[in-house]
Amino acid sequence: MGISGQTFFIGIDIGVSASKGVIIGWGEEIIAYHILPSGFSYRLAAQRLLSELLNKAGLTVEDLSYIVATGQGSPSVDFVHERVTDIVCSARGINKLFPSVRTVIDVGEQTSRVLHVDEGGRVTNFIISEKCAGGSGYILRVLANVLRVGLDDLGLLSINSKNPIKFTTRCAVFIETEIISMIAEGFQKEDIVAGIHDSLAEKIIELINRIGLKEPCAIIGGCAHDIGFIRSLKQKLGREIIIPPQPQIVTAFGAAIIGKKSFSKS
């Protein structure tokens, strides 16, 4: 049973690989957040996510005033008051955390996004990568798989690379073969990882270039944890990149904030 008399708002961001949720209070302070793999069903993921969140916050559904869902899987979620575009949610979320940020980079599993945000947290321009997984974050998952290392270990590997291999971002699945044969040819794991990081960074920068970079700029989503990728991105960008403490939940957080606004309007 939660602290009665209070109102809580929840934002859930159901992605292809991971589902993230945030509960905030009236002051838009984060009460609890949770991240879990989406598995094979968006609906189930959303349900599990909800109960986990309530547990963590010690609340019940009754305590929730408003639920907003966003992300690829949001159409499959049934228990929400409102569905909002992830682009808008990301903008609101980052703006609450870092009001000065003007560009947000989000490297997703399927598609990547770059958006401009104004001081009010409104989207002022955005671009989404084309429908080919060539330049998507999935490539890192593939990489980790082939090398038999954890996603989180990739960063450490790549920053130790002396001379990164040049890859061309083709189908992420193909890159796998390329990687395997490179290992066979005796290339260093470090250089391979660094090479993939570079090629992914290049792809993202292409995207940024198409709408331009407004500083300061922040990166959200899972890949923000990958220090190797970040390093390469910074180098190629020649700019600092802000990384929120919990980059994965920024969009969900934004959804929750939107929920609160919609609630107070009604």
Partner: protein, 448 residues
Amino acid sequence: MSGERKRVIRRLESIKPLRAIIDKSYNESIEAMRRGKPVAWCMLNWWIGDVILKAIDVVPIYPENYGAVCAAFGVAEKYLSLSDSDGIPSHLCGYSRNCFGYVIRMMRELKGEIPPEAPMGGMAKPVLLLASSTICDPRYKWFQLLGRYMDTPIWILDTPMPSTIDHVMDENYVNCLVRFVVKNLREFISFLEGLLGKKMDWNRLDELVNATLELHRICFEVNELRKAVPCPMHSRDYWSVMPSVLFLLGDPKESIKLYQNLYKEVKYRVDNGICSVPEEKYRLMFSELPPWHSLALFEDLAERGWNFVIESWGYHPPKPAENLEKIEDPLERIVRYFYHFFTHYVRESVKMGVNCISISAPFIVWAKEYKVDGAMLHSLLTCRSATSHLYEMGEMLMRVWRVPSLAVEGDIVDYRVFSVDDVLRRAEAFEETMQYYRKERKKMGLDW
């Protein structure tokens, strides 16, 4: 095409009769074809070829167009794989691959019979292939490759373009082009006369050319009215009456009357501030080929206050050209008009100090004239000519006018690429973008 429930867009009454004659004349051409009247397969040729064929009484049909039809009726899949199986590279124009599949089916499997599954009456074996070098290469390479499957005689309308701003502005250069193409058309006519064993009716040709120009003039006036805020006519209405302007479907004289009515209705709306959507929050333009399969999308967007005020440059008549009527020779008249069509927006852009030589020019000009808040750019996997300029255009619109654009992915034959949900999912974010750039334009001292 796709089942529409919503009816948010206020469609114009006067397009119904126009639509009717378009369908009527389409069916007539099918009938004529069935009765064995000579049929020519044509590339869209921006009227220079069509008027000639109509004047000498040959039915023009457009495999490009038919590609869209096959896709809409779900038979394209079959034709595409026939084309692939015959060793034709899959990165080529989707419409052409559909056509190759169709022809393989007709000529190899059915010995010249129209395939039973062919939608809307199919395309009968032609007596002539009329290729064109305008706009893109497939439009002549495609027909050349058809020689693999049928021995149909072919003609190519060779139309070089002024490729630099200087040449667009240089009368002598354009004159030289006109001389070249007029000569080409004369040879075409004598070739036709030999092929059909009949003479060209020059008076009829003359009338047709004038009727076309008049029809286009009115159509242009209608489009001028659409500059009004709020906009009285939605892109959907233009798309449904476009065939009478682009393919000259239906007797132009008849179309003229109906276009006059269309003008009246649109004018009435302007005078009474009637808008084509319930509330015009955003004015948009659309480039280039419409998603025929998902037009319902525009109803959803209309609900959000998106009004599409101008679209598809290739379907539009240009601003009327001065003193064409003085020109004796109907061929020269139509050819001059043809080059006017391809150059006048470039000249307009130069007047605006933008200097745009590519086919982005019309949209650069329109963005200002129609006070648009945003552009929807429809990039197509297998259509180079409608896609190649889109990035440049988006960049220019932003740089010159601070007008943002929304890119949507689709294809001309594989409709599964286009996702209405994706577009709607982005709509919200794009609205915020459009609002933001309104302010930006004000800062730049622009008036919309």
